[in-house]
Amino acid sequence: MTADQDPEPAARVLREAARELAEVATTLREVSRHATAAATDGAVHGSLRRAPAAGARAQRAVLRAVTDRRGLGYSMAGGPVGALGSKLGGMARMRSLAVRMMTTSLRLRIAAVCLDNPELVTDPLLARLHEAVAAEREMDAVRALCTLIRNRGTARTLSAIAPIFGEFLALRALLDRNPLNDRTAWLIASGEAAASADPITGLSNRAIAALDVGEGAARRTASDPGEAARLGAHGSLLDFLTNIRVVGPTGRALVQTVTGPDGTRRHVVQVPGMRIGHPDLESPADLLGAFSSTLMDSAPFSRALAKAIEDYGVPPGEDVALIGHSAGGGAVMNLAQDPRFCARHPVTHVVAIGSPIDFKRPVSPHTWVASITNQHDLIPSLDGQGAGSCFDLHPDWYVVDYTDPAHVFPACHGIDHYTANIVEDLPEVRARLEEQLRPFQGPVVRSQLYRLYDREPGATTTSVVTTTGGTVRLPLRCLEGNALTAYFTADPAAVARLPGEHGRAVRVGGRALVALHAFENRGTPLGDYGEAHLGVVVADPNGSRPSRLWRELLPSGEHRGLGTCFLRSVLTTDRAHAVAAEVWGHSASVGRVRVAGGDRPVSMTVADTDGTVLTLAGSLGRRLPFVHRDLVVYSWSDGIPQRSHIQERGRRWVHPSPGMRLTIGSSGHPLARWLDALGLDGARPVLCLVAPARSSLRSPAVPLPAH
């Protein structure tokens, strides 16, 4: 086993040459952009009438410069025309000199890694794969890879090619016909930034990472007796690594306070890696969290950790060390690069083990960062930089990239293996880490486990709530019923003028979305009753970023930010009214609600003692089956937004072109007045959703924390 702190001089020479070639390639690309700009500038064409002969000569010369196979090659780049030309060139395999230069750089990087890992050359199957990729024989490369997997199995194949995985993918991406992966290949090869897409398909990693939404939340949780006995009572490198192993990839993190050798109280946050299994839209430490922690500067994972630290009560100004494994390393680096967090809590140490953190930067230059990676572990190279990197991205970090051919991925990614390597095989690394973490060595005086969430979790257990209308068991279950929802568009200014708080209205084509919901509920603990609600579709009241409609539609209701703020409600029974007002905080009154027809045509009528409030009637038009989504409901209580959600079961239809019309009745009910203020008298809905037979479960309202 060797730690790659002082690589063989020969490998260093090749890496240095690869870096020089990458720099020249980057220069060539910049030159290509300039030449493309000259070739496509309207000003150059615009003066042709004045000097046609000189203009034609100039145009020919510029075009030759960006297409000469003996010179810059096919080098269209930059701007819309250049980008299109570049993609077309890639599909036709017309290469630029910049790309040829960068592939030479990548081949040199692979050659450098091969010096440290001779099996990459001596193994005939690996050598065949390597040669096929370098010689642009795509089908041969695929065949070689298939042979490798067939003969060695997937795990051993991945382990074998892990040290050159990034270079291998980048090389292939630069040379294949797929224009979508060229940018990420360039990012890997030039070391400019984290790989932004899958180097094979070109599918954007950021698009995947952007699915990871939520403000982050943390709840104290007790360790089970077996865990508690194994969690360290003393602060030391080995104890911290053991703690991470004990807590495991379970979506939890540990915060501890130690009394250092100088008697000073310090805090250590220990964060395991990705929770095993499919993305669960609950834990920020799932697969999506691993993506977003690597690619984004702030993600639910790091925001949940910040909330755990705040809840723990780490006093501002006291030293904090952050230790993370795998995705946990990315998450703690995100904390270290968060100016607001670091202004409260000085992060003195970050230790990331097996984590892709090459493109993270701590806020404070005084933060000591250690990155420990095994060259056969694929995870640290997910940001595009692995064992073959020729860029010294962090001369001020303590970077250990060691190799051990005996290791097989994914086993070598486990915290057990890293701990064993550090403790047993890399004594100088262990000594350095222990020396740096000496201020955190001492007795643990406090310890708290946290479970991390994407969003504030709702109540998962049933509870009984007392209202003026009697007691009710929550979540409220409705065994059968039907529902009609009509969406209208309205002037956002008119929505903003409505009294009360309703959050940030979502706009579609510059218009706000207003919803009319009518539910008929049978077989509920409240008896049979109907309800109608006027609402506005709003973004997450705590969302720090502008809502993206497509992204918000994906998670289940419990984890989605996009919802409907109920402005006025009508309930058909006193008991249901009491629950709506007191449990969910709705501005509600008692009246009559009727949904007639059930199919098409259909009508919705709401009335009170004063007369008809509204009538929505007409044909529903064509229908399509609709993917079932929960409804997120917001309300405000004492200025604090509250969220609940309604889970529904049963077939649902969407009617994209309803022929219905809304008529406001003669009642002076606020719902009628507000519909009038929104200019919806006589309006046609833009969309209707119908659930002819449904059951539902409505969660209690959860106050959202101040943001």
Binding site: V44, S47, R50, A54, R57, A65, R70, G71, T104
Partner: protein
């Protein structure tokens, strides 16, 4: 049309400077090739590949210098014709 001719002149200036940058790149690659030629660790294909890159940089430099000169000439002619018309 002074705006257009100014833009053409600006392109000419940038491409002229880029021609010099590429000449420097060629010199840098030549030095790199000399350095690596004597090194045992250099792969057998490297020296020839680097020489190809050097040649391409020289050709590209010449192409850009030519394009720069032609654009300059074009801008000058357009200005002249514009003022005499």
């Amino acid at each position: 049309m002074p705006g257009r001719t100014d833009a053409i002149t600006a392109h000419a200036r940038v491409l002229g400077a880029d021609a010099e940058v590429l000449a420097e790149c060629a010199a840098r690659l030549r030095r790199l090739a000399v350095r690596l030629r004597a090194h045992d660790a250099a792969p057998p294909w490297l020296y020839r590949t680097l020489n190809d890159h050097v040649t391409a940089c020289v050709v590209a430099s010449a192409d850009l210098a030519d394009a720069s000169g032609r654009l300059d000439e074009y801008a000058g002619t357009a200005i002249h014709d514009g003022t005499t018309q």
